[in-house]
């Protein structure tokens, strides 16, 4: 069976952990050191889905921002899906994510995406409460809690997104 390639974008405010999530997912590594991403960084990862289908994910780790820049707009082009990353400890990143989602939809249309509430290892510092999450869930959003540091939820997030993308023609 042919290996299907899919482009995935990591979107979110700066310092929410997009690069760390990619590093965790692709290289099983984590670093506390913060290096801001300039422009975009690209990684690839082959996934075998539970139903034995295979896909190759091309991960576009786009520089974080609370609004879409013209550069990041062109990076979005052709994305089959995206991960909208939120830093659970910073409420503004939540608002930025919702804003970004609108802009992205305007740019590339409705595409599968997952809201990732990152930094689940620092849950005691979270500024986002469950009410907020459940109300967004009721609006139809898929929301996962992840920790790039511990690795929890990371694999699931990418697999889930891949499944969503492959089921959308």
């Amino acid at each position: 069976m042919a290996v299907i390639q899919k482009k995935i974008c990591m979107i979110g405010d700066f310092s929410v952990g997009k690069t760390s999530l990619v590093a965790r997912y692709v290289r099983q590594s984590f670093s506390d050191k913060y290096l801001t991403t300039v422009g975009v960084k690209i990684d690839t990862k082959s996934v075998t889905l539970p139903d034995q289908r295979e896909a190759k994910l091309v991960l576009w780790d786009i520089a974080g921002a609370d609004r879409l820049t013209s550069a990041s707009m062109s990076y979005l082009r052709g994305a089959a899906g995206y991960l909208l990353v939120i830093d659970g400890t910073r409420r503004p990143t939540w608002d930025a994510a919702l804003q970004l989602r609108q802009e992205v939809t305007k740019q590339i249309g409705e595409k599968p995406y997952i809201l990732l509430l990152n930094k689940a290892d620092l849950v005691e510092q979270w500024e986002i409460n469950e009410d907020l999450i459940s109300s967004e869930r009721e609006n139809g959003a898929s929301i996962l809690k992840t920790s790039a540091k511990l690795g929890s939820g990371v694999e699931d997030a990418f697999t889930l997104l891949t499944l969503k993308m492959l089921d959308v023609p």
Binding site: K6, G39, K56, V58, W60, R77, G78
Partner: protein
Amino acid sequence: MDDYSNLRALLIGEQQQQLAHLENRLNDPVQRCQEISEILPDALQRNQTVELTSALRSPVTQVVQNDPKTFARAILPVMMPSVRNTVAEAFKTLREFLKEQELKINELNKRSTIVDKQVLPTLQSQLLTFEETLKTLQSLLKNQESQLGELVERSTVVDKQILPVLQSQLKAIESDVKTLPALFTRLQEFEDVRKRFLALETRLNDAEHQTQALANLLPEAIRQATEQAQTAAMSAMKKQAEEEQKNEEKLNETQPAVSFEPDLTESLQEPVTQCIRKSIQNDANVFANALFPIMGPAIRKSINESLKSLVQSINTSVEQSLSPKGIGWRLEALRTGQSFADIVLQNTVVYRVDQVFLIHRETGLLIQHHHREDIEVGDGDAVSGMLTAIQDFTRDSFSSTKDEELDSINVGQFTVWLERGPYAVLACVVRGVAPYKLRATMKEMLEAIHARYGRHLEHFSGDPTLLDGCRSLLSKTLQAELKPEAKKEKKKLFSPTLVVVSLILLGFLGWWSVNAWHISYVQHQQFNLYLETLRQTTGLVVIESNVDKNILKIRGLRDPLAINPHEIAEQQHLSPDIIQAEWSPYQTLAPEFVLKRLQLVLSPPTTVQMHLQNTQLQVKGFADAAWIKAFEQYSQGLIGALQIDSSQLLERDAYLLQQTKTLLQPPPSVQINVKNGNIEMLGHAPNEWLEKQLPNLKNIEGIQLVKKDNLLSTDQHLHQQAVKILAPPANVALQVKNEVLFVQGDVDTKNYQTLIKKIPQLQGFKHIDHSQLVDIETASEQLVQKIEKSQLYFGEEADFVNPEQLAALNTLAQEIQQLFVYNHRLNKTMQLKITGHTDGLGTQRRNLQLSEARAEAIRDKLQTFGLEKKHLIIGTLEKVPFGEAKADLEKRTVTFVVVEKAS
């Protein structure tokens, strides 16, 4: 009336116009072409059926035959790797194809019937509607005519009633009546129109005519459509390029509008593919014949090319690693820390395309990635994405109008050239200085890819296998150009300032170049071939070989019986001067050598055959005792044969005896003795064996002399035996036929009894027939008794009393004859005395006469039966009866007595 005629003129005029328009449309081929070409792609796409395929088959086949080169070139790169597979699979799938084809034909039939059933009725119903409309029009006309009549009637009524009032009106009506002829002409026109309608109808109805017309128009239409598609594609490409330069947002909007895709090609692709496939299934020969002249040379060429490049790369690597330049490069590699291969490439290559990426423009996903075998490549997908991102980044960052694009990236000795199409980006990673023509090649490539895979590219969903067909195209971009070779550099060495040094260097260089020349590919190949031949020669074992100073040194083992390696070298035109071989003797156990050795040592006679199979030596045939002894002694220590089967090896006489017995299958009565190759045969055998089997003796080789004097036929043998045992008198004949003894002859009683007594002593006969051996002494006595008992009876006179007496006389005559024969044999002379008798009636005299008359009558009759008169005598009656009153029929007779004639 005016209104009416106007109305009618209007009605008819409009219809005429419409008709004329319709006719024009139908008759104007240009317009029809236009129309058909507009709908054709759609129609073809919708109608991707077997029907279309079969309709297109012959024109497409024609096209392929007319210009097979184009097809072959297109097919070849794809075919090359799969040719082998295809050949293997073709046979396998041939049967399946045939079945499939049958199914397709069935389907075709079904479909054609469906067309007959479904389309024709529609046409017919449309026609009917037409006809009905016409009828309605006609009835309308009639109606109007009748109304006109009515109107006239009414006008007359009006005329009569209010004549004065309506006179003016009448005049008007009269003028109206004048216009009637005009009306008639209109009617006439209407009928003309109707005829044209009918003609149109028939043309529409005539499906064959339509098909014919379409067939006439189709080529033109396809050509037009192709041209349109091409111009559309061209303009789309141009437009696209222009649009791109405006800005990104606009591009996004215009993209869906730019449908530069060649519709016709797309539409035709499937049916043409199908029809080519089917044509090939139906008659692969046409294609094979058309393609072969191009493919054959192309395949040959490609093999030659790869061989050539192999030779070249070997040559260059050998030369480079051994030449002074090469040493310099090695030093450079050491100094700079780069790999030697990189340095070599830098110095020998003007440019070389190392990698080619075909990238989906929108997603940045990698569609195809081609690279040279000898380079290391990273994660192509990431590179592809990053290249896309870089383009986006540079455009966004540096181009104020956002319509300028990144064309090339320089990284050290590498240049990445980027070329964009509407849906895909082609990126070439070039080492060295790329020529401008590479750019052109890239553009052509990209256009070709877009033309072929435009649709797939537009809707690329991440599955690169759909675009595997691009591979062959992309591989063409992996071009390279080498620097013009060392000649110029050699010239530099002849610099006058370095005369002395260069003389020394020249010597050195000369040695090097001679060396390099010697160890050229050809010689390597020759050496390799020679070594390979040696390895494959039985009796030769190459233990080690190496080439030292252009001399092939071989150390190995050689069976003295093996072919001389020098001969092999001579056959391969290798000079013995460049080969140093050291062969140690050994003995190979290869069967042919074991046999050869045996033959050499024992020199077996030609009558001995030896076979060695799986360590079993089988020896057959015959030889003299001395050789067999020698063989037995030698074979005890024989290496190379574990089992020796000499059961069929015989000493010559034994062999000959065995062969004779096997071949002739002699009966046990034949004894065969063989001595010194001479065969003696004794005994006896049936004639059949003597005639059929014995001649086979000449088929046995090695027989010196055959002595078969003492070999009798069984009958002869039995005859001999019978003669010996019976010792028959001269007048007894013995005859043996098929082992049956016949004893014949007339003998006296004494001899007869002797013979009969001896007969049981005879053995080996199937049967002994002595029915023809007669004891004539006894036989004649018996005959005499029989004859003398015989009586013949008469009537009153000398006539027989009844006819039976004559038959009795006949029998008697034969017996008498036989008796006389016996007597003759026994040397006796006998006579038959015939005596007549009478009864007592009449006188004595009369009776005496009667008796004599009766005896004479018999004598006469016997004479007529062949008896000689001298043997017949008439006896006299001693006592003649007379004077009796009663007739005694019993006494009216003749009696016989056999008497010995006194000599």
